[in-house]
């Protein structure tokens, strides 16, 4: 599964994309955040303030309590500021 990072979340993690294989007991976006946050100090810094982290599963906005199972890509980013 591909994980994508954008904006200051990308800057803190230090990479824009990585391929991961979380264990079977990690099924929700919130659990995925916990699991990713343990990967490096950069990940931890990026996910420190969960309220400011938005997620998309296969390019659709999803809440933190939803399942990501079956996703090809999951993206994490701050609230959007386009327009």
């Amino acid at each position: 599964m591909t994980i994508l990072y954008f904006a200051w979340i990308r800057e803190r993690v230090g990479i824009s994309e990585e391929t991961v294989s979380p264990p079977g007991n990690v099924t929700t976006i919130a659990q995925l955040i916990d699991w990713l946050a343990a990967r490096s100090p950069g990940h931890a810094a990026a996910f420190k303030d969960r309220a400011r982290v938005k997620a998309a599963k296969d390019q659709e906005h999803v809440p933190h309590d939803s399942s990501f199972l079956g996703a090809k890509e999951v993206a994490f980013f701050p609230p959007v500021t386009g327009g």
Binding site: L4, F6, A56, Q59, V80, T81, G83
Partner: protein, 166 residues
């Protein structure tokens, strides 16, 4: 609404600068019998709401975006607008990459036989774009680069459409 009509509905996301006047004329030209054309241009400002000190001059801005999802979300917004209002056509253009002050960032146009439908749909697309389209602004001032913070007002404006039908 025929398939031919829907083929015109357009979403463009690109780095190149665009010409709002040329876009408006192209849009009106492809809708010669729509009585009402509403449009919106978002321009880059030359001062920051967010940087410290507030109001600091911005030398440039970089728009990061999520390729694929951005186009998908913008298309979904136009589809939603079409379901809510009697529209003949709608178009949205959004840039990414590096911009300098007073450059256009976003353009939305809507065409309808009905003035209120054109206005409402255009404002709806802008309001939802502000909370759903995956773009992020980073402003560069003398103090460095600052990611623009999302504004509660945008979320509230988008929310007002949830229970509104034309």
């Amino acid at each position: 609404m025929t398939t031919a009509d829907q083929m015109n509905w357009s979403v463009r996301v690109h780095a190149e600068r665009f010409d709002p006047g040329a876009e408006l004329n192209a849009f009106t030209a492809r809708n010669p019998n729509a009585g009402a054309i509403a449009s919106f241009v978002g321009q880059m400002r030359d001062f920051s709401r967010d940087s410290a000190p507030s109001g600091a001059p911005i030398s440039s801005m970089t728009l990061e975006y999520y390729p694929g999802m951005a186009e998908k979300q913008l298309s979904a917004l136009l589809t939603e607008a079409r379901e809510r209002w009697p529209l003949d056509d709608a178009s949205v253009i959004h840039r990414f990459g590096t911009l300098t002050p007073s450059e256009p960032i976003v353009f939305v146009a809507t065409a309808s036989a009905h003035r209120d439908a054109a206005f409402s749909a255009c404002e709806f697309v802008m309001d939802w774009l502000k909370t759903k389209a995956p773009f992020w602004k980073k402003e560069t001032t003398d103090a460095g680069g600052t990611w623009v913070a999302a504004h509660d007002g945008d979320t509230m404006r988008a929310a007002k459409w949830r229970n509104t039908k034309s």
